[in-house]
């Protein structure tokens, strides 16, 4: 088991390195750097102005050097400005290089850099935004998991029955509707004067500080609906399979009540597959978070990703990529380990 975990962490590290290098290379393409200069300097700067702006801020050097600086294996740049001051990666702008400024400042030194759009340290931004998305995901899970399991079990315990058909149709419909469709429909029906119900709010901006049923339910439901159908389908399949096992028939023949057969004999075995699906669904739901957070103006991790990408905010994008790699691989790790715990027939070694 120890070896297995070690190997997984090594893979995680390697993936993060590769991914950040790719992101770094793409965000450092000339047109993207021009975009940085224009959003930071002035939208309507001329080409020579852009060039001097970039050169003065250390963007003009070769890709491996810049990547090395970000990682913290190479010393940060120090560039003399036209007005005689110096600017350095590790100390900002000053009249002269401060003696206590570190030579290297990168990820290895714990410095994730500064976001060019938000003008704040990347670490702090990601922490705040991830916490907000965590809050959203927590409520999504609270709503989605019990609902999906209930639907799946109810549908799977009597395969082919009318309940099964009805619940399966609902699950397929909900999982086949992408968030950008269901979100808009939910807003129109429940939050706008177009239909006139106006039970909830069509924006979740105020939910960042003070989440209530009124301002937070719609985004939560939008994400939950999408994931729910899929998990319910998986649970149903697993449940239906278990219900055909010999030991279930034995239990029934023994005279155990159907209710007890389902709850005591079938459920535990039927939940092994959905557990994996739920864990794998978490990174998948991060996609939905990007759409839903933008749609409902909830400024979490997904929204940050959109802002970072559309403004070519290099260091913030790198931070976001690392977090994504960790989330994806960590949930897979948990699902693997959990699978072993739940099913003694499987071993990771």
């Amino acid at each position: 088991m120890g070896m297995f975990l070690l190997r997984r962490f090594a893979v995680m590290l390697a993936t993060a390195l590769c991914l950040t290098f790719v992101v770094f290379a793409l965000t450092n393409l000339a047109p993207n750097l021009e975009k940085v200069a224009k959003t930071q300097g002035n939208t309507r700067m001329s080409d020579p102005e852009v060039d001097s702006w970039l050169a003065n801020r250390g963007y003009g050097r070769s890709l491996p050097v810049k990547y090395g600086e970000w990682l913290g294996v190479l010393p940060g740049y120090v560039i003399e400005q036209p007005d005689g001051t110096v600017r350095g990666r590790c100390f900002g702008q000053a009249d002269a290089r401060p003696p206590d400024a570190p030579a290297r400042c990168g990820v290895l030194q714990g410095d994730w850099g500064t976001s060019t759009v938000f003008r704040e340290p990347v670490g702090a931004i990601i922490a705040t935004r991830l916490a907000l998305t965590g809050k959203l995901m927590f409520w999504v899970m609270v709503l989605m998991v019990p609902a999906a399991l209930t639907i799946g079990v109810l549908a799977g315990m009597r395969e082919g029955s009318r309940t099964d058909r009805a619940l399966s149709s609902v699950s397929i419909l909900s999982t086949a509707t992408p968030e950008y469709v269901s979100g808009v429909i939910l807003i129109t029906v429940f939050a706008s004067s177009a239909v006139g119900l106006r039970w909830f709010k069509g924006t979740a901006t105020s939910a960042m500080e003070n989440a209530t049923l009124e301002n937070f339910l719609l985004p939560v439901v939008t994400i939950a609906l999408f994931g729910m159908g899929y998990i319910a389908r998986m649970t149903r399949a697993s449940m239906a399979e278990v219900m055909q096992e010999q030991y279930i028939r034995t239990a029934r023949l023994k005279g155990v009540r159907f209710r007890n057969v389902v709850l005591k004999h079938a459920l535990r075995n039927a939940l092994i597959a959905p557990f994996t699906v739920i864990m794998l669904q978490i990174p998948w739901l991060l996609n939905g978070v990007v759409i839903v957070e933008t749609l409902f103006n909830y400024k979490g991790f997904g929204w940050t990703l959109v802002q970072a990408a559309s403004n070519n905010d290099i260091e913030l994008l790198l931070g976001v990529s690392v977090v994504s790699v960790v989330v994806v691989l960590l949930t897979q790790l948990i699902s693997d380990v959990g699978y072993v715990r739940l099913n003694p027939r499987i071993s990771v070694t």
């Binding site: 036209p82 105020s206 103006n297």
Partner: protein, 552 residues
């Protein structure tokens, strides 16, 4: 120049006669007279009208928190400001020498009054006494001279004030011309221009002209926010929100103009999608919008909100780039080709389809009827058949034009309508729609694209920013010595009527050279909750925080 503050510029009296003779509108009269240094009250007096009270009937009550929907864009050095939204936030603690008002008048803020000599080469500003910075320093002429020096530093990348300062910038040193701006005493500043420039007053009211403390040298303005304004910034999170609260320092303007009324103002970002703004005001999460646009205006009208409209010289310019190369040739190098494109579209149809008819039809020369120097000229006829013939003669019959636009409501719709009309005329057009982050990277270079231009109080201003040869924002690649000369000439004529004679020549030249297709002047709209006062839409989208307050 006599130098007496009571002196009324002779041209202002002349404009008053013109107004009485019905030759100019009230709005035009007010813009012209106040730009010449006549106070708004005196200007109304000249035409025998009483100045309308600002908050009609109702004075807002003290206190309350106002929430405004507005994009929160990264702050920077004021002279680099490139979005009015930044100006709106900064205006809460940084003030201007001069304020441009909804009715087209200029009035003094930090400058109590100003005088212009007859050929617009010498301006004397009398500063408002007893104004205190939030750090306790007195506001003096030294601060103003410091700002003029910062504005005129053309070596700073993206300094948009340097273009506005025009010939105050010494081309050899890229800095303020020696001796051009001097402090006569603590409260008097004299500005001497080498050549006449009537746009100076309007430029000083524009949003990058915020007056900063003499110790400010650039960098983060939130770090040590010293200001003269009635509020102080509390927090600013890009893309999320910015908050200001009432400053502890008493505000000079309370006795002069009244206000401030609110305790706290929150600017909240709902992104660029107008549907989100609608949701926000519908849900009661904001009290006032930055701007209501497109089909959302009608929806918001149906809600319990108050609407205000500003007639503006804001517009959309669909231009070809005369220098752009496509596959080794310059398709728009010839004036005939450009004229043909303009002839193939009907501007009134573009107004209807592109902007739901919420504006007035324009005439392809970027001078608006609300500009004081506007001169009516004959427009090019709408004649798609002839347009097609001209293009064929020029060897452009089979050419496929690519019309690029921003992915933004009315800009996209208008360009779609342009493309449809061109296709109807038998001209091949492809459309390319880009998101803002991509579009603004190349906005100057696209061979054929559309750009939104916000209005300026005077007609010569935009022409100088966008069409003079080689200026940074010249997106049409237009370079005409004749145009440049005429514009320089117009810039030296303080009297708008005489200027409009030169303007007529400029407008004809613009049409002759087919520089742009400029379909309409937009009216702009803003919705707010019914009990909010002072939130009326402004032609330049300005929000004046001290005027805002809730009705009791």
């Amino acid at each position: 120049m006599t130098g007496s503050p009571d002196r009324i510029h002779p041209a202002a009296r002349m404009h008053a006669d013109e107004f009485r003779a019905g030759r100019i509108s009230r709005r035009e009269f007010l813009t012209r007279a106040t730009a010449l240094g006549v106070t708004a009250t005196a200007a109304y007096g000249l035409i025998g009208a009483a100045r309308p009270a600002l908050a009609q009937g109702a004075t807002p009550e003290q206190g309350g928190t106002l929430r405004i929907q507005q994009e929160i864009i990264a702050l920077k050095d004021p002279r680099l400001w490139d979005w009015t939204e930044i100006g709106n936030f900064g205006r809460t603690w940084l003030e201007y020498l001069i304020e441009y008002n909804r009715d087209g008048t200029f009035r003094g803020m930090l400058a109590e009054s100003w005088e212009v000599n007859d050929d617009a080469t010498e301006f004397v500003f009398r500063l408002r006494p007893n104004v205190t910075w939030s750090n306790g320093d007195a506001f003096t002429a030294e601060d103003v001279v410091h700002n003029f020096r910062r504005w005129s530093d053309a070596s700073v990348e993206g300094n948009s004030m340097a273009t506005r300062m025009g010939n105050l910038v010494d081309p050899d040193t890229s800095a303020l011309r020696e001796g051009a701006v001097t402090a006569e005493d603590d409260l008097t500043v004299r500005v001497v221009l080498p050549t006449p420039d009537i746009t100076l007053i309007a430029s000083l009211s524009d949003y990058p002209a915020a007056i900063t403390h003499r110790s400010y040298g650039g960098g983060d303005i939130m770090e040590d926010p010293i200001g003269t304004g009635p509020y102080r910034p509390v927090s600013y999170e890009v893309g999320i929100r910015g908050v200001v609260e009432r400053s502890e320092t008493p505000w000079w303007g309370t006795d002069v103009y009244g206000g401030p009324y609110l305790d706290r103002i929150e600017y909240i970002d709902y992104g660029t999608d107008p549907a989100a703004s609608l949701s926000a005001i519908e849900a009661g999460e904001v009290d006032m919008l930055y701007e209501s646009v497109g089909e959302f205006i009608e929806i918001m009208d149906s809600l319990d909100l108050q609407k205000s409209e500003a007639i503006t010289s804001n517009t959309l310019v669909i231009r070809t780039n005369q220098k752009a190369e496509v596959d080794g040739r310059t398709p728009y190098g010839e004036a005939a080709v450009r004229r043909a494109l303009a002839m193939a579209v009907d501007n009134s149809v573009l107004l209807e389809l592109g902007y739901s008819g919420l504006g007035t039809v324009a005439e392809n020369h970027h001078v608006s009827p609300i500009h004081p120097e506007y001169a009516p000229v004959d427009r090019l006829p709408y004649d798609p058949d002839q347009a097609r013939t001209i293009l064929e003669e020029a060897g452009m019959g089979d050419y496929t034009h690519t019309l690029v636009s921003l992915d933004d409501g009315y800009q996209r719709d208008t360009c779609d309508a342009v493309a449809a009309q061109l296709r109807d005329a038998g001209i091949n057009v492809e459309r390319q729609i880009l998101p803002g982050s991509t579009y603004w990277n190349d906005w100057l270079k696209f061979p054929f694209s559309a750009t939104e231009w916000n209005g300026r109080p005077l007609g010569v201003q935009v022409l100088g920013l966008a069409y003079r040869s080689g200026v940074p924002w010249n997106e049409s690649g237009y370079a005409s010595d004749e145009f440049d000369d005429l514009l320089t000439q117009a810039n030296g004529i303080a009297d708008a009527d005489t200027r409009s004679e030169v303007m007529a020549k400029i407008e004809k030249l613009m049409l002759q050279d087919g520089v742009i297709i400029q379909p309409y002047w937009r009216s702009t709209f803003r919705h707010s909750v019914p009990n909010l006062l002072g939130a009326e839409m402004h032609p330049a989208f300005e929000i004046h925080p001290y005027k805002l307050g809730f009705a009791s």
